[in-house]
Each structure stands twice: as C-alpha cells, then as structure tokens.
Symmetry: C2
C-alpha cells in the first residue's frame, strides 16, 4: 500500500468508524459466539502473497465484529467506561504516524524486573562475538550455587541492543534444563527476521526455551506497541504475570499487516534492510580510516574510526550536532563505537550512501 492508496483507504476507514460509532446501538451489545469461533473463519497461517484490501475490510464484519463486545454501545452497562471521543481518535491516528516513542536507555527491562522483584541479577561475560556461551554460563552458575544462591532464571538475547549479537542458546539450553533454570529468550528486534529461512539457524536451541518474546513493533511493520510472547507451558504464566488489566486490540494491526504484505512482502522487507546494512558495512570497510566492531548479521552496523575513544566521541557529537542524520553509540569491550541501524520503512540505498558521505565528511574535518 503506497501513500496514495493510504489516502483513499484512510478516508474509507474514517467513514467506516463514523458509521460504526454512529450506528453502534443497532448492534447486539454482547456477542453470542463461543470462544474459539474465530478459528474456523481464518486460515491457519499468514498468506504467502498479499491479500486484497477489499477482502480485509470485508472480513471486519465477517470475522471480527461477531466477536466484539461493543463497549461504546449505550446498552453497555458493565465494568466501568472506556474512553472514546472523536478528538482522541484523531490524536491517536497522529500518534501512530509520528511513532515517536519515549525511550529509556538507562535500565533494561530485565534490570527493572529484577529491581521490582527484589532479585539479585548477575551479568555474565560474553565471548569475542559478544555472545554468551555455555561454558561461561556453567562456570558462573557453579560459583553462584557455591555462594549459596539459587540460580533460577536466565535471560538470553538473540540480537542484543548494543551490537545485535546472538547468545548461543543451543549451548545454554541443555544447561538450563538440567539445572532447572528457566530460559527466557529475548529476541525483541531480531525475532522478526526469523520469518526468513536463512536466519532460522540463529534460532537453533529455541526448543529449550521456557519463554520467548519479540516485538513486532520493532521490525515487522506493526505500529508501536505490540509485543508477542510464547511460553512452553501456558499454566506457568496465564493470569499471573501481566500487570495491566486491559489491553488494546493489538492483534488487529498484526492481522492487517500480515494480510496486506503477505509473508513474501515481509521477508522482502527484512532482507532489504539487511542488504542495506551490508551495503553500509562495505562502505566502512573500503575506507582504511574506519573499522567494523562487530559482525554484521541483521540490520545493524557497529563501526568506528581507528583510534581513541575521544576521537570517536567527537565524531559522533559532530554528526549528531549537524542533525542531518541521527546515531547513538555503544560500548564494546571498552571501545566507544557508533551504531548505524537501518530503521525507516522507506529507506533506500541513496539514504545510506548520503549518510556515509556525510559521516566521511565530518570525519575528514576532525
């Protein structure tokens, strides 16, 4: 769907919403379908090829609405109200488009969860590829047990934030199993890439995971926010862990995206980003003043000027002050490193080339 079709479809959706809310009291307030009614109405898998938008819209009434409790019907007197007004919906549309999210770089969610739960957290050293390996894990596990601690949870990461490194879960998994340690796999960003067969080997060992999550809102063309989590044993988690009581209808946007891109469209999107990262890596490698600081596996390139941390800090500062592009740094083995992440849906080779030309120019002026 291009921008011109969005103009057309968006206006149709505004009319659909106006009709829905304008005539809501003619709908039966509470559905009479049974849980699971949806299963027979939709295919088991996402489509390979994109669907027609007309079919998606037609399915709103066929598939979705029969299961909806119409909270905004004037015949709904249950619970307490949920807000809904035209100005709020207009602002919410804009909020989705800006997609500008607050972001806290300081604490990871795991550290926060540890703080809240009053649990001692241990960071485990990684190998020269910034990956956690089985041997190291076993060593600290034994150390902690000797110190009287009870290790019970490992958060392994596929696609770390600083360098997009992949912990070796095929080594970690069996240790977790034999030591009764819950292995959670956090694939917040990289998880989307596993729809491409060529990236699936990075997922080897996931069969040992007790839980796994990724964020379709990061790299799967789904608006913020949308986080998907699997648990091996449902009863471990259902009804216990999630703090918020209410939930937005987030599956709706995944459904639209799956249908309008199709599996092939989503794969093409991931591959395009990876190819652009590789293109940028090639540019960096071709300039002898620069070095690559971590393997480029998905859409992130970690690079730096050969030389001191101060030099690289100055480089980043000048790049960001110029405000033509925006980058953030990371620390890798004590080195100050620049991160170049392929982010935008609309990014093309020319943007990468321009960005690199700009970086080179700023570097030349140092």
């Amino acid at each position: 769907m291009d921008v011109d079709e969005f103009r057309k479809r968006g206006k149709e959706m505004v009319d659909y919403i106006a009709d829905y809310l304008g005539n809501i009291e003619q709908r039966q307030v509470y559905p009479d379908v049974q849980p699971g009614y949806l299963r027979s109405l939709i295919p088991e898998e996402a489509p390979e090829e994109p669907d027609m938008y007309e079919d998606v819209v037609r399915d709103i009434e066929r598939v979705i609405m029969p299961g909806v409790t119409h909270w905004h019907s004037p015949y709904f007197f249950a619970y307490f109200p949920t807000g809904n007004s035209y100005p709020a919906m207009l602002a919410d549309m804009l909020s989705g488009a800006i997609g500008c999210i607050g972001f806290s770089w300081a604490h990871s969610s795991v550290e926060r969860a540890g703080l809240i739960g009053g649990v001692t957290m241990r960071k485990i050293p990684t190998d020269d590829k910034f990956a956690l390996r089985g041997e190291t894990f076993r060593k600290v596990l034994e150390e902690d047990k000797r110190a009287g601690l009870i290790p019970f949870y490992l958060c392994a990461t596929l696609g770390t934030t600083p360098s997009c490194a992949f912990d070796n879960i095929i080594e970690l998994g069996p240790i977790c199993t034999s030591e009764s340690v819950w292995m959670h796999v956090d694939a917040a960003y990289a998880g989307s890439a596993f729809i491409c067969p060529e990236f699936r080997p990075l997922l080897n060992g996931v069969e040992f995971a007790d839980s796994f999550n990724f964020n379709p809102h990061k790299w799967l063309l789904v608006n913020f926010d949308c986080s998907a989590m699997w648990v091996k044993n449902r009863s471990d988690i259902i009804g216990h862990w999630q703090i918020p009581l209410g939930r937005r209808f987030r599956s709706l946007k995944m459904w639209f995206v799956f249908r309008m891109y199709g599996l092939k469209g989503l794969q093409a999107y991931i591959r395009k980003h990876v190819a652009l990262a590789k293109e940028f890596e090639g540019l960096v490698l071709a300039d002898g003043r620069f070095e690559i600081s971590a393997d480029v596996i998905l859409g992130l390139v970690c690079f730096r000027l050969k030389g001191s941390n101060d030099l690289n800090e100055t480089l980043l500062k000048r790049i960001n002050s110029a405000r033509r592009i925006h980058l953030v740094p990371c620390q890798l083995e004590g080195k100050f490193v620049l991160r170049f992440a392929i982010c935008a849906r609309t990014i093309e080779s020319r943007h990468v080339q321009e960005a690199w030309a700009h970086i080179v120019q700023v570097a030349s002026e140092l």
Copy 2:
C-alpha cells in the same frame, strides 16, 4: 465534535499523516530544542471553553513537531527501528474506535504486583459503606507489626470497582505518615470526576498521598490506554518503576481532548453520566421489588431484587442472555448484586429508561 465533523476532520488527518510520512525526509531528523521548550508554547491550564479545531491542528506544527525526533525518517539510524506501515495504521484507527479491550476480572493489579514482588498482601475490612476507615487500618497495622511483619504500603481506593466506594483517606493519611507507610491512592475511574468542584470533597486527604493515579481512558473521553500517575517525591520513582522501555505518545490525545471539550465540556460530560445514574437509582427505588445496595455517588448503581442470591443470579443470567443490554455482577457483604454502570459517551435518558423497562420485564418473568 459530532460524527459529521469527525468524517471531515478524520479525512483531513489522513491527508496530514500522508503528507507527514510522504515528506518526512525533508524534516530535520533530530530536534534542536531544549527539554522544557514546550512550557512557553502552551498555557498553564486546560481551557475552560473548547478551542477551535483549526487552532489545535495549527499547533501540531507550532508546538509538537519542533520537539519530535522523526523515528520514521530515512535519516534516522539510532536504536532499532519502530514499526510503521499504512495497513497497521488503518487497523490501529479501527482498534481505537472499537475500544474493545481484553479485561481480566480475576486479579487486581495490586494483587499481581504483590505476587511479582513476593510481598504479603493483606485485605482490610471495610465499613458498612464499603470504605476503609482509619480505626480498622490502625488495628490491622498493629496486629501485623506484633506478628513481626513490616507494613510499608497501603493502596487506598477512591471509587472501588464493585460499588464505587471511597476509602476515607483523610483518616488513613495521618496514620500512614506517622507509621512511614507509603499511601497510594488508586482513583482509576473516579479520578476523572474530580474536575468537578462538587466531587472534590471526596478527595480530601489526598495531601497525605505519596502517589496517586487515575485513568483518563476510563472516564475522560481519552481512548484506551492512558493512565496518569503523580508522586509526591519524583526521585522516589523516576527511572525505577515503569517496566516498558518505550511509550506511545499518549499525551497527544489528552491534549486534543482537553482543547476540544474544554474544562466545561468535560465537566458537563461527567455530570451527565452522574445524573443518568441518579435517574436509574430513582427508577429502582420506585419499584418495591428492588433495593439499592450501595450509595450512588458517581456513575454506578448497585441494585438487586429483594430476595435470594439465586434469584438475582437468575435475573442477571436472563438479562445477559437476552443480549439487549450487558451487565456484570459484584458481591457486597455476601450478597449477589447487579452493577449498572453508565458507560457510553452517547448514552441518553432514553437508553436508561429502555434498559430499566427491559430489566423490569425480565424480573416479572422470573
């Protein structure tokens, strides 16, 4: 804003979004304003009277955009991507309109937080108005201390879910202060009502609260989700407590709502709901077969047939099976009670009258 104006404004917003995303690369990717730049651009308080929609839209470029980091610009290479696609935005619009939220009735968020934090929680008995009183609180506090426990947190509620009761925070507050117990005030639903001066007395004692929250997404015409929290001492909480790392731009929808309704419009909205609840209470009281089970203070009426719990369970079951209206029950002092909550933005007296006529008819057939 009525539905016809929404059609017009919604289509304009679709065009605004299409223009924004279509031309995003011409915007400076990272803002050069300082934190706090917004303060001088907006008034200190919400307007009394509604603003013009044209002024709100004009202020998007004047007030909002200068502070935005354009995450969807192809010149943004920081962090990891956030998703954004036209189909996802269309679905998100629909999701906001349906406002259909999953809802778990079983555990309250406080119970869940207790489970996660591994903290012992104690439920404290309430008085005949279902309100927690100082004397009872002091008694259980002393009991717990004698048992070697360390009471450190009280969650008081203004507007409880079962009956919209109000804990007596003016009695509870001084005890919390002298015993170094953190007093949190949960006013999830009722909090919105405090924009009306006549309901402010219910808030007496809030000066003792260490933290206070309410959900504008419940009763302040703001789409789900949006929760506002105050803490007396910022340093107690900033950077520690919130688990999610990213946030939607939720303040945008509050801003639209405040401006398009004005304080007077919002007050009128709350008062209309309260008046409709009183109207329903009057209908119940006029029928000798029914009784009111709790004081009607805001938009909730708790009522039942005089008689057994079984009778009332059957009544509720038949009402909900007919699917003309939807209600949920609660337990009050061992009694099975029906809750009639005024919910919809568009509810009018005729809906309340119709609902009551329907309830009476079902009751007559028992």
